[in-house]
């Protein structure tokens, strides 16, 4: 568990190699099968009519003109299918009395967010469907909308008047009650008299996952099974839920997630569009396709984050934390979606982070509003928690007038204390915060940058420098089915794999996880190649089709490697065990004398042996097998870990703040992550780079903003600011290695780590740059305007002014009939 810069390079092993990704040629060139590429004979196309209003009663829908339009096959409203369309599932009712409105795929008599589907067009071409969608005449009676999260929590305006409240569920954890720690109120009371109390309220703004490939669905009902192709992260869960909701036999449904272009949690969902196309295909007996536009994706695919966090941290005068109390408001949007309410709950176990807090309480109120529903977005609950606590630890350090690392070191779990049971009740298996921190500071040039910061402050430089610290950990690798069950989650967390030994010695590996850009085919090939002693190129990873990979729980929560990868190991080990008696028979030796190494079965103490490919061929021929041995090496395994998985790392960010304009510029970013053993360092770097940028983007750029009417103002990429490579800098990254003890590979998840870690590092750095001007918080995204206003002492209450830039005004110069209506 020491900091290492060099990775041991065993050239005979695939694990640890910087393998270029197998899948990239087809993904990058686009010569592959995305859902929207799929064209079936007789396929019909679907377009949606969506509500422009956040909350309204549908008083009439006139579809006659649309129905009469060229090549329109049918037009369907919610009322037309009210009895058969079913409701979208919520797989995680976080409390027994959770209130959740019925979630109809097509609104029937009332719309509850701007973007909700009110009618569906089926036509012979996508263009004709789109044209006809413009011809549906919907009459609405607009109702008051519940938009602001805090106001909605007070039930001032009801998002669903029939429910009588906007409050969906109240979920709490208290360490005194749970027996995992002390009483937080006592700790706070004591700190108010003889210690330090830090009280802050932080905003987690609403974000949009903004995956590259829009969601798309093709349903073919013409075979014995109904086949759905969907740009989803969760083909197996989708298959199960399609069956559960529609009553169609699960055995009659096949779901395929072909190559999928990103998800970030945004495709961890069963969508209205999936249920609608499934229904239409069955009704019409013909294949149907629906692909959302980017505008529809931004407006109606689920959003993420959106919390207010009220935090109270109690500490003694030396900076030793004595208690933490968290009160969250979490905006669910219009419905409680698949995992919806569970997202903030995933943060409940992470506010105590890497620290030994003696007392802890977490209270969360989930709230319904008339905005797009929220659900998982990269990190799901854990970035929010990490942001809260890492901001607070910097505030505590500022209060004490000490370096942020001083308070962290005073409170963190030391390397000798692992495994450690936290105040939230989790057992962290391994880690070394000291080593990661030492390496990160070295990479960063911590002392030099601190000296520069002091010099700039002393000289009154208009460009000030700030340093932000984030010593994060997270729980991932979802997983332990028992724990998920204890949290009322609707499924397990195991993962499945099969290894098929082909007669030619090639290997097919079936995995139940469903990659959508992660590089599974490469990393899993490396694992299988090492385990079976075959060439990397000889391994084929098959996934994402429930007919091929028949069993699985898909990809989210940084689980694919730590759960799915381990299932592959276990299946491969079974192959070897099945091959041993055959090898012994062919080698005329005792099974006990057979050794397996580097793809070769040999007789101990001799030079006699057979390659695994030879055994595979002999097994296929089955001419000469021992009595009673089945002629197959193929093996399955299902792995359910006993614990989550706890990557951690120390992230350091230096931000320059131009005090004349409020402009913020990243100067340096260094991080040392501990994700246990690494299968493919190149893929890890990619995950970290992308993850970091996504977290940085929350700090600086991204925000889904609604206006007073509940219209999404940031409804295009003009106003929803995504960064590109031009907006980022080179990151200085390294790793320490504390192998996980809960899987044999010793791996920890990395998919969400960068996103979880980076947001507070950036905001801490910005605040640090201007703290001497009397500033202790700037709301995210830290726009130049907000930073400048803070410097001017103007606190505008935080809300982003809701106006879009007018670049898409339809009025072209002198040439348009709507001229004059510009602006």
């Amino acid at each position: 568990m020491t900091a290492t810069t060099e990775r041991p390079a065993d050239s005979t092993k695939e694990i640890g190699k910087d393998r270029r990704r197998k899948e990239d040629q087809r993904l990058i060139t686009g010569r592959t099968r995305w859902t929207d590429n799929i064209v079936l004979p007789g396929m019909l196309h679907v377009a949606m009519v969506r509500s422009p209003f956040a909350h309204a009663t549908i008083t009439n829908i006139d579809k006659s003109v649309a129905e009469a339009a060229t090549n329109v096959v049918t037009v369907i409203t919610g009322a037309d299918v009210a009895e058969e369309q079913g409701g979208l599932p919520n797989a995680w009712p976080i409390t027994p009395d959770q209130i959740a409105p019925v979630h109809s795929p097509i609104a029937v008599d009332r719309v509850v967010f701007a973007g909700e589907i009110v009618a569906v067009i089926v036509a012979r071409s996508a263009a004709e469907a789109r044209d006809a969608a413009e011809l549906v005449d919907v009459d609405y009676d607009v109702l008051p909308a519940a938009l602001d999260l805090k106001e909605a929590a007070e039930d001032k305006v009801l998002a669903h008047p029939d429910l009588g409240t906007n409050k969906s569920a109240y979920w709490t954890f208290d360490s005194a009650q749970a027996g995992t720690g002390g009483n937080v109120e006592e700790a706070i009371t004591k700190a108010r008299t003889d210690g330090i109390v830090i009280e802050r309220e932080y905003r987690q703004q609403r974000l949009i996952p903004a995956f590259m490939e829009p969601r798309s669905t093709v349903v073919d009902p013409t075979g014995e099974q109904i086949t759905m192709w969907s740009a989803t992260q969760i083909p197996h869960i989708l298959k199960f839920l399609l069956a559960a909701v529609t009553g169609v036999s699960e055995a009659k449904i096949r779901v395929i997630a072909p190559d999928v272009g990103g998800g970030f949690g945004g495709k961890l969902q069963t969508t209205p569009e999936e249920f609608i196309t499934f229904l239409l295909a069955r009704r019409l007996g013909k294949p149907v396709k629906y692909t959302e536009t980017r505008s529809e994706s931004l407006m109606a695919a689920h959003h993420g984050r959106d919390q207010w966090q009220k935090l109270t941290l109690a500490a003694d005068k030396d900076g030793k934390v004595t208690g933490l109390k968290v009160d969250l408001l979490a905006d669910m949007g219009s419905h409680i979606s698949l995992v919806g309410g569970g997202v903030p709950v995933l943060g409940a176990f992470m506010f105590n982070a890497i620290y030994k807090f003696p007392a802890y309480q977490f209270n969360c109120q989930t709230v319904l509003t008339n905005k797009t529903w929220t659900d998982a977005y990269r990190g799901a609950g854990r970035p929010e928690a990490t942001f809260g606590i890492e901001r607070l630890m910097d505030e505590l350090a500022a209060e004490l007038g000490v370096d942020p690392f001083v308070v962290r070191e005073k409170n963190w779990i030391t390397a000798e204390e692992f495994p450690f049971t936290t105040v939230a009740g989790l057992e962290y298996d391994s880690g070394n915060y000291e080593a990661a921190t030492a390496r990160a500071k070295e990479l960063f040039g911590y002392d030099e940058l601190r000296a520069e910061q002091m010099a700039r402050r002393a000289s009154g430089d208009p460009v000030q420098l700030g340093i932000g610290v984030s010593t994060f950990t997270e729980m991932c690798g979802l997983a332990p089915s028992r724990v998920l069950g204890s949290l009322d989650y609707g499924a397990g967390g195991w993962e499945h794999a099969s290894v098929r030994m082909l007669p030619t010695g090639k290997v097919e590996v079936l995995t139940g996880v469903s990659g959508h850009g992660q590089g599974h085919e490469t990393a899993f090939s490396q694992i299988a190649a090492d385990r079976l002693g075959v060439a990397f190129e000889d391994v084929e990873i098959l996934h994402g089709d429930t007919m091929v990979s028949h069993k699985g729980l898909d990809t989210y929560g940084s689980r694919s490697l730590v759960v799915g990868g381990e299932a592959i190991v276990k299946a491969a080990d079974k192959v070897i065990e099945k091959a041993k008696p055959i090898a012994a028979h062919l080698l005329e030796a005792s099974v006990d004398d057979i050794e397996f190494e580097a793809g070769r079965f040999s007789v101990r103490g001799t030079d006699q042996g057979l390659a695994i490919a030879e055994i595979a061929l002999a097994t296929f021929a089955a001419h000469n097998l021992p009595d009673g041995v089945e002629p197959s090496l193929d093996s399955d395994a299902t792995f359910d870990p006993v614990n989550f998985n706890y990557p951690h790392g120390t992230h350091l960010c230096a931000m320059e703040v131009d005090t004349e304009t409020g402009q913020v510029t990243m100067r340096k970013y260094a991080a040392c992550d501990d994700i246990g053993n690494i299968i493919n360092p190149l893929i890890v770097e990619g995950q970290l780079h992308g993850g970091l940028v996504q977290g940085i983007a929350q700090a600086l750029w991204e925000e889904a903003v609604y206006d007073d009417a509940g219209t999404l103002v940031s409804g295009s990429f003009v106003d929803y600011l995504l960064p590109t490579a031009a907006d980022t800098i080179n990151f200085d990254l390294d790793h320490t290695t504390s192998p996980a003890t809960t899987n044999t590979l010793g791996t920890k998840g990395v998919g969400e780590a960068g996103t979880i870690a980076s947001t507070p590092a950036v905001v801490n750095a910005i605040v640090d740059a201007v703290r001497h001007l009397g500033i202790n918080d700037i709301q995210m995204p830290c726009t130049p305007e907000r930073v400048w206003n803070a410097i001017q002492g103007v606190h505008k209450g935080g809300a982003t002014e809701a106006a879009a830039m007018p670049h898409f005004d339809p009025a072209e110069p002198g040439q348009d009939s709507t001229e004059g209506s510009a602006q």
């Binding site: 031009a726 898409f808 072209e812 002198g814």
Partner: protein, 284 residues
Amino acid sequence: MIPAAFDYLAPTSVEEAVAALTQFGDDAKILAGGQSLLPVLRMRLNAPEVIIDLGRIEALRGIREDGDAIVIGAMTPHSVVGKDPLVAEHAALISEAVVHLADVQIRHRGTFGGALAHADPAGDLGAPVLALGAEFVIAGPSGTRSVHADDFFVDLFETAIGEDEILTEIRVPKHTGWGAHYAKFVRVAHQWPIVAIAATVRVEGGTIAEARVGMTNMGSTPLRARSVEEALTGQPPTDEAVRVAAAMAADGTTPPSDLNGDSSYRKHLATVMTRRAVLAAAGA
């Protein structure tokens, strides 16, 4: 994102294009690169019946020298303008602005004249051509006419180009030897500027002999900061002197408020960016 159906015409001469415009009137839209028009069509914010694509009119492409002016064909892509040595030598302010316009893809597809005719006040080209006092050559049914930059930008998305007219070229008076800088304030590189300042100055014997300052996204059209220009004239290119002049940049302007900043913040930015642009242009 499928546009409503439209007819597509691709004339090969300006005369043909003007004839088509005359025929279809306000049922037609001109496609001149399409970097603003196509999103509008795809989002169905507009549904013209006819699209007249100028992409096949060779005469509208290219950059040449003509006496005291550099002449930029309206259909010349930004990427070509940005690399052109004549523009760099005689109208450096344009080079400065165009190389950071939007992103690489848009710079290859979008055209110089198309962007100016679109007249988005946040577009990067209006302020530089205004500052340089360019002439806009416009062709119509009765021949061509020339409009000075001061009269070209009428309002948000509105210019002096008539319904049956086409912008053919932009004649930029040579500013050989002038220092130039386009100071663009953005949050991410590819976005429209929140505010940008186009400054070009002629420094002679240690003082600013002449200055031209254009402003992007400070109103419904690109603006020229004449009071700043006057105040700079005869001043040394020092931080103190330029600061005083730049403080007037936002006087009388009514910039927009949006997600990136409100009007008063933009006014503040204009003064800071003006100072920086002028100092950089003067090589200070």
